[in-house]
Assembly symmetry: C2
Homo-oligomer: 624 residues x 2
Amino acid sequence: MTATPKAMPQSSAADIDKVREKARRLGILSMMATTAAGSGHPTSCLSAAELVAATFFHAMKFDPRNPNGSESDRFVLSKGHAAPVLYAALAEEGVFPASRLMTLRQFSSELEGHPTPRIPGVDAATGSLGQGLSVGAGLAIGARLDKLGTRVFVLLGDGELAEGNVWEAAEFAGHYGLDNLIALADINALGQSDRTMYQHDIEIYRKKFEAQGWDTQVIDGHDVAAVIAALDRAMAAKGRPQAIVARTIKGHGVSFLADKDGWHGKPLSKEQLAKAVAEMGGPIELPADPGRSYARADLPEPPDFPEPPAPSYKADAQVATREAYGNALKRMGAVNPHIVALDGDVKNSTFAEKFGDAFPERFFQAYIAEQNMIAAGVGLAARGKVPFLSSFACFLSRAYDQVRMASISRSPIKLCGSHCGVSIGEDGPSQMALEDIAAFRAVHGSVILYPSDAYSAERLTEQAARLPGITYIRTSRPKTHSLYSADEKFPVPGFHVLRQSDKDSALVIGAGITVHEALKAYEQLKSENISVRVIDLYCVKPIEGSRLAEDLRACNNFLITVEDHYPEGGLGEAVISALAEIEAAPARFNKLAVNGLPHSGKADELLDAFGISSRHIAEAVRGS
Amino acid sequence: MTATPKAMPQSSAADIDKVREKARRLGILSMMATTAAGSGHPTSCLSAAELVAATFFHAMKFDPRNPNGSESDRFVLSKGHAAPVLYAALAEEGVFPASRLMTLRQFSSELEGHPTPRIPGVDAATGSLGQGLSVGAGLAIGARLDKLGTRVFVLLGDGELAEGNVWEAAEFAGHYGLDNLIALADINALGQSDRTMYQHDIEIYRKKFEAQGWDTQVIDGHDVAAVIAALDRAMAAKGRPQAIVARTIKGHGVSFLADKDGWHGKPLSKEQLAKAVAEMGGPIELPADPGRSYARADLPEPPDFPEPPAPSYKADAQVATREAYGNALKRMGAVNPHIVALDGDVKNSTFAEKFGDAFPERFFQAYIAEQNMIAAGVGLAARGKVPFLSSFACFLSRAYDQVRMASISRSPIKLCGSHCGVSIGEDGPSQMALEDIAAFRAVHGSVILYPSDAYSAERLTEQAARLPGITYIRTSRPKTHSLYSADEKFPVPGFHVLRQSDKDSALVIGAGITVHEALKAYEQLKSENISVRVIDLYCVKPIEGSRLAEDLRACNNFLITVEDHYPEGGLGEAVISALAEIEAAPARFNKLAVNGLPHSGKADELLDAFGISSRHIAEAVRGS
């Protein structure tokens, strides 16, 4: 079976009857699955049944053998709690056997409470509301880059339309004129714990979408002919993203569920199910088993690419790691056509502009809307792109939930956060990332890279493009001199010992700007005839504990860590934890980290005032 | 001097002249201060000078001796990088000597690169864009609760209007009809790195605000008479929040700055400054020194309150900690009128509804918009309220940047995250908080409380209402039996030893649901004649390392930590880190934490499958 468009001809009465019966089946299957599971959200499925049925069985170009293929239209269920209605549609399409629906939410089932990419046809995990339209926008941009004419359909709930992320996505899609993106808003007026803010005052949603530059149709979401006609119009339109705002009833079609409070997230009893099915026209037969394996193919991993030309800097050049990041993106851009970059209106600070200037068709200004930037990156990655997403490191915290969801999607997005720590200086604490290592370390499957000079920044950025999973690159504002050459390798995990002797009295581990402080301390101590070993921990996660333990033993088991980050969850704890995992521990330990709420000042003043300058390192060593 | 309204009479030509001269002075002072500092954003000040001048010197009820007092109108500079224009206005009002302006951004100055509450007249730190309107909404709700008729003015930039948080705030303010909230949008069409998305297509912003239920006026932001008239109309309006959307020019008034690219965040040279001042009508004299101390009064701390009646549960009752949280809020609500609660449309899951049902005038449905909920909480706290802000723990990650900014504000907000960890069961990983301890530990000044039963949840929630700073309460979904009685105390920091003997072979530390797993393991091991010590670490930050070290020594220095959280930055690392700080370390260590990307299933299945059940604890002990 190949992917064929089902939409373009005028819809016939037969089409409408087919979709209506599909909607009935999706509703009944959703109720059956949640009753079998003993939990779930059947009423949230019933409000969307016609919207989903018309999208899958009238509008979408869909290959059940390869629903995530580059030539398939895509469907994103932003209101992830309506998972059963999506799963029912996938089963009806023949993606997997309908019998799987009755395993919903079980430990052994890939059909989880909320969708994840373990399921064919799902591109991104949803369930944290308000992210799906951004994922869809990323998929739509990816489709546009691929020039294959495919579309992206996103189903949103009205509860989640309160999330700012939705409107970041809407303005982004409007700005880029993503006419291959179609949003269906299921306005059922009932949230989890209350009626929604606007209930059925549906014109408000029209105004909101139109204000963002969308063409918007308002329809009755249970009128199948109207839904089909709206989809046809949306697919024929050009130049603007398309919103279909549908007035619906939560629990539609079942008298004791329809528009009733207290039914959110509750399955029907067996008796209630029988009554509901009878009200909806009686039992259905399960669709035929497609009779083939349906396991999800490999999740997206970055495609391989040839070695770009080596980086090169003058020996005495002072270069910020953030600038080297931009240089690396530009070098790679020439040899890896899959790389795309987005930046949150700080491209002249993160240096993403170097890539943007060289490859404008693969650079997207994401403006000051970090949530959308990250979730759109997940959509791009799901289409095989390698998205590099940059902002000040502190502002990536704005999208922490989106990063969390990306990890559940096992999405290979690349994050670059510049301006970390107090070393940014005068701008003050609102612009300083001091929690980012802790936050991103805790993200499942993440890799954290923290370069200390231009060469390590270049090489680690190259590494990021090859690594699966979420990779976070932490860059610094100040210009620093080179510690390495173009020949140096930076394996992940790994670290480099920069100074050592056979009489080292302490092991000093830094990363980024604190490596330079550690080297200053080394020189000072050397003049006092004290030897210390200095390590550049350029990969903060994962860490090779056993190799570190050897160095620690060679340094009297005296450990000093120094980081431009708060004390919790950062480099110091990562080191101690890696050692503890192998039941190693320092006999003495000094964790130097930003020891108070910082404020404005010069970078050097702040490094010293908040306890992480060369002076503090030297004092910690001498205190031994 | 007492606070007096300046607005209500018709504005005269003299008013207009006064404000125009103030605007000129604010612009010049902003340029002077940034030139003295050698960094900063003078052009972002010039676009807003008339808006700020008219707000301070025409509209606001303002007592320079007590600008954060309950009877003062408030001003929130959401576009925090325009700090100098705010500082200039405060100096002109006589809050502090104008000579301080020339210390801008210096290490020793309270006048930082972006505003913080170290400065009188500032209620919340800004500088991470798009949060100020939420802070303003919180202040406006607080003012309404106080029934003092005060107003809140918020100045927004157009770059930040791309942030979803702004529109969460706008819909919240529209929903609650906050007619004491006036937003001034400074549409200067230039972001940091590019023209803004909509540039001067100013009607788009009108549509956006109007779609959220705001009255909206569009004006020329440099026409002082128009700004004054718009403020007068906004202050006279009733029932809806008021937006004044102002077309402005970045760098207005100076030929070589006005609407020029490449001037964002750049100060003028001394020569450029002289030329600019000449173009703006010539030099000014600094305002007179008010000649009194102006240090910021104490930052808001929770007010004291009498002991509420003790909690009480039946001996055999199974109660979830999340439900006990709701019970505690309700108990306290009766004796502490300052407590308010907001919830993100999950009040029936977090049990915030118990408070809402009892005190509806102090409960605010925040819908599914966590960013606004947290930042509005900061505004409420700045008016002396004690805001408890709840959602699923995983969804609080949506507002991580807002929490980060709250810590810079040293705001005493109380967060409650329910449904932590894999123990939620069938809903799957999108609904499981597994990174939250790491993220919130890294927040400066935070306290992390993690109850294991109903009594500890009740008492720790009470503690939270008394603690300064950000306090995070992590509650669980499953019902559990009581471990404590109503008499038990829960000092912060602290932990309780639940099982011990003089021959304990290992120290098992859990919190929340894993305490119950540890106790199950204890019983199993006891039947095998193996004794272990079991600790309930109900306070995860801060931790008393020295007391823990004593218990560790008494348990053969064999440590097992077990947490419903990913391995990084959570309970295990917190314990190891607290021990390392005092140079203690276990001889043997087993860190049990969620050891993979979880999926749907029953709570017990998941606890076991992901390595944190009683079976794993017992095996870890036996492995010794």
